[in-house]
Symmetry: D2
Subunit: 388 residues, 4 copies
Amino acid sequence: MPESKPAGDKIRLGMVGGGQGAFIGDVHRIAARLDNRYQLVAGALSSDAQRSYDSAAELGIAEDRAYTSFEQMAEAEAMRDDGIEAVIIVTPNHLHFAPAQAFIKAGIHVICDKPLTSSLEQAEQLQSFVDNSGLLFAVTYNYSGYPMVRQAKEMIAAGQLGNIRLVQIEYPQDWLATNVESSGQKQAAWRTDPTQAGMGGSIGDIGTHAFHLAEFVSGLEVSSLLADLSSFVDGRALDDNAHILLRYSNGARGSLWASQVAIGHENGLRIRVYGEKAGLEWFQEEPNQLCFTLLNEAKQIITRGSRAAGLSANLASRIPAGHPEGFLEGFANLYKDFADQILSRRDKKDSDISNSLVPTIADGVRGVRFIEKAVASSKAGSVWQSLD
Amino acid sequence: MPESKPAGDKIRLGMVGGGQGAFIGDVHRIAARLDNRYQLVAGALSSDAQRSYDSAAELGIAEDRAYTSFEQMAEAEAMRDDGIEAVIIVTPNHLHFAPAQAFIKAGIHVICDKPLTSSLEQAEQLQSFVDNSGLLFAVTYNYSGYPMVRQAKEMIAAGQLGNIRLVQIEYPQDWLATNVESSGQKQAAWRTDPTQAGMGGSIGDIGTHAFHLAEFVSGLEVSSLLADLSSFVDGRALDDNAHILLRYSNGARGSLWASQVAIGHENGLRIRVYGEKAGLEWFQEEPNQLCFTLLNEAKQIITRGSRAAGLSANLASRIPAGHPEGFLEGFANLYKDFADQILSRRDKKDSDISNSLVPTIADGVRGVRFIEKAVASSKAGSVWQSLD
Amino acid sequence: MPESKPAGDKIRLGMVGGGQGAFIGDVHRIAARLDNRYQLVAGALSSDAQRSYDSAAELGIAEDRAYTSFEQMAEAEAMRDDGIEAVIIVTPNHLHFAPAQAFIKAGIHVICDKPLTSSLEQAEQLQSFVDNSGLLFAVTYNYSGYPMVRQAKEMIAAGQLGNIRLVQIEYPQDWLATNVESSGQKQAAWRTDPTQAGMGGSIGDIGTHAFHLAEFVSGLEVSSLLADLSSFVDGRALDDNAHILLRYSNGARGSLWASQVAIGHENGLRIRVYGEKAGLEWFQEEPNQLCFTLLNEAKQIITRGSRAAGLSANLASRIPAGHPEGFLEGFANLYKDFADQILSRRDKKDSDISNSLVPTIADGVRGVRFIEKAVASSKAGSVWQSLD
Amino acid sequence: MPESKPAGDKIRLGMVGGGQGAFIGDVHRIAARLDNRYQLVAGALSSDAQRSYDSAAELGIAEDRAYTSFEQMAEAEAMRDDGIEAVIIVTPNHLHFAPAQAFIKAGIHVICDKPLTSSLEQAEQLQSFVDNSGLLFAVTYNYSGYPMVRQAKEMIAAGQLGNIRLVQIEYPQDWLATNVESSGQKQAAWRTDPTQAGMGGSIGDIGTHAFHLAEFVSGLEVSSLLADLSSFVDGRALDDNAHILLRYSNGARGSLWASQVAIGHENGLRIRVYGEKAGLEWFQEEPNQLCFTLLNEAKQIITRGSRAAGLSANLASRIPAGHPEGFLEGFANLYKDFADQILSRRDKKDSDISNSLVPTIADGVRGVRFIEKAVASSKAGSVWQSLD
């Protein structure tokens, strides 16, 4: 290894949004950094010039790559020999579409926060752009990165539960139990504003996570849904609670409950899947374990890193059993897997990513369709809506 | 206390059904015995004469009070000076109505298993009998007897949660995950047979428990429901899974999930109630604790018997905190409270029982209406049904 | 009723101590009543005549069998044709020896609370009385009555853990964290008074339970111990905390921690046993489950009443899995098993009870020896003491 | 980049040990990388030249800074203008002393794995070197980096528990339950070899962690200990289980149990502290919560990131409540805090680090003394040993 340019091996990364004070920008950066596969070298972190430079400086981004607009950044980076290979988009929902389009156009892979866009029309339009570009596009449904979520998916795919009958998923939180958006809480403000968040409140912010996870873990597709959306906090325009019944393509049924007013829950994403032979349960707040019960046998607690865990969990683990990995490590697994995709593309344009676990643009579109159909169902008085 | 005939103070009790091999008969008997308030002195335990005598003998019932028909028993006991004061009816659902009517006619108080009857028409007819009789009638929605369930009810009634927004209730089991009814499992056989169980499978067997508990704890009435009932096991005529959306009279919403095919759950009744100020959670398999969280404060684990528990929990407790009480003790609380009602009636015909926590005939009727409306909603393709 | 004589089948029972206001008296009575095997017909419930009569009346005991002294009761009952067959002794520790001796002398079986006596000398003397009498004598180390404790014992005896290496047992409580004995708390007053409790405070009240459970479950004998006893609350004469190291006859080691000042614990008895092949854990506050882990396999949660539970657990269970049984049911199992012993003696003087799980006088003596040795070790500065 | 020099702000870091295949090397690197405060620029990752180069290349270390000996590295780096400012030592225990000394001599701060050295003599010698050097020296007792551990420390320091009476700490694992060291498990091989591990087996590997945590959280010093060490696996030279009684300077007592043969435990570090007013409990496998109970009040579950958590927990947190942080994040907190110390030293030689939570050389020495005294106590038949 004469020239072993290790720095050169790292993927050159840019970021749109995520300046000082943003929560999710930091999460993406830590996730990208954790496994040492990326180098953040450019950013349009803020439209305010001073804030953009300051944020960039803090992150070790050179001054000349601290942009104030994503258009400028896409253009400039595309021209550089050492331009970014991928960009992270972490702006509010309504500002996903335009930058995503700009970077695709510039030939740069995209990692985009969820929900993909604020309308289904935009989502489908973007998908067609992406499909035509041959570029990679990840949507950060990050809960699919947890090792024991992948363990669950692997067990179901291997038939350990038999035919799936039921998928119960819930995602309760309580941080929007009062009208915090009117008291200057930035995170709350845009998420409860239809012009920024789109048509979904809790279903857009967390319901889509739950929806993706249900399909990801079960390996099934939701064929139709029926929703009852509520808005409990006075003056709130979007839903803060969603009760949704689901039917799956194989005849399985289930329900999805998402709430941001369920006091006592911090980030209570929980999935339970029941088949003809066994059932399993995973809870995001105790992510290192998976409960699995074969009919008429003792419940088993399968732990991350243990010998009872399978291949996909092990590939997504860094440290031994009993040493808890958390949210950031799960998130980082998406970045790690996406890095593999990017690196395989460096040499070979058509590398196959069909086995990858990284959520794609198609998953992103599906998430937006879920939101649109849920809103439509609820408005119509809770009637079944097809997702096909 | 010169003549203090303590034995005479015990309530003379009879039983219909519950002979050898019946599960729930034993539960009722232990519950009645636990606090030493009743004496089982008569029974129509089986229609088979020998089995009726043998079962009676085992239970210390005199031979001449071991009947082979409830009609005969009601008539004979009504004639005796030392005749039974109350009767327990623990036959399959379709055999609740006739004996209940017979004992009411005979002037004997009734304790009846749930669901009250196999049709709403019968239920309402029975209610009118009971109301006209002035007699006491308890329906054993026994989960309302758990101390920490009553604690939850008390806290909500006291406004500790503020206005209620959400009630989430679920009752998953797994004992009917396969077709055990065809292999001679007696408990399964009648519960899955429409001619014995009525129109509800899982919703009749456990869904009504969940429904009662939701209203009991929240202090609210369900105003409408929307149901999606399923039957997953081949050849099963009745539902073994129910997804139900609920709306409450005060605007609160919620969902109810009952399942008997959810592998990994034994008797997983769980209720969660969320108000504007706080949320709480109770789980039947760990019945001695109640989780309570005020918005933005640490979650509290309130335990039975502790100083953090309130009056109604303490009245329903027998032993100190940390010494778990279970299902039988909770069940026994219904018997204990019903004993108080009976004793107060011994002297005074019109004693007020409006403050009692024992589920009444009205609760029983409501439970049957719930079943009927759930079936109707599901058959119509999941449409809202009013419960008023 | 010529042949059936069901009432006659019940064992005629008396009680010494346990009058109004006593906690443990009620527990014994409920436990005896739960399975309908006993009838309480006599009592020396209090030395105060009025209180004795009143307590008796409340319990349905006839006036002429409400005694004011145990001597009188033993004598009178021994003379009656329908005299008691067994007596429960639930007085404070220092008042176990004399009544136990009196009833043995009167030919009446004894059920005695723990610790057996307040000195080892008395304990051994009593054992010799009992052994010579041929009578049955149970000591209510009631935690051995829990189904899943018996499950643990059965699994270890069957070699499922391999050779045992470690036994960790702890029993923390917090009700004596302050000087409640000086503020009129009766239960605390006698337990902290050496003249009534004997030489052990927490080790007598709860440490002996833990000690018995360790030997009962593991099937091993403790060969030596080393203790560090403390008294944290000002003015308290007896230990309220005990740290004890244990060595077992087979070379296994372990520790026992008993505390009545460990704030946050209600009745936190927990046992963990580790062998060469597997480990298990049982916790009294969640008594219906047993955790079991084979090396390199997933942890299993074995539940009472489930198909994963074995024979001895099932024999000690009344209701299905998921329907929690608690402290009273566990306690009642001792009564149920003791009833079997008594009934087998009715006909046959020398019936073999060696397979019974009911703690015997020998276990009682061992418990007092444990206390004496622990006190001796601690006084000597924590030196090893042999228990042989 | 005239003023911003962000890369220059990162601390230049080297590593000794931790080449390919080492577990703990990776952990340190991720921990150092997580918060973007360090840049790994040099390493003596292996004494094998090729392996050293390969490992370095993988990590992005330039070829000329991939050393094959720590002596060479210390010398060379000390000469460079851009030489490392701190070094991580992650070799087996017996290879801590020499490199630590070399880097101290070269004026480079040290981060050293635990236990500090394999003898107390070396530890004290090293402490005197360090003290004279004025350099910074961290020992990675990493469990002290968990937010809720710091929360516990803060609450105790603030008097929320009152005077501390009891500290119970345990650290069970099961990965050495069989003789894995003889089957080529590298991690096991050196840890069970006295020539590499020193005199402590389980007490050195995990017991010292527990010991440090007990003092760190309680704010107390252990004044004496009494130990019973065992070696259960055939052919194992060092202890694989330790039962230790502890006495603290303020009169508090406690026990420490460390085991590597306790089947069913992965990394079960648990600390419980009881004071006159309250008790608390923290468990490493569920690190985001702390249980806290005030006498006679409901148990509280305080969670990381919530409003119930205090300053020191919040400073050590990155993401909101309900988004679990784990082992790596806790470990990273030591690196983050140590970075603050290093940066404050860049300008000012005598910056005060007395408030820092990073374990120091003094803690390291104390840990080695603990091992030595535990071994001595056990060898002498379990006698009290002073730690002063």
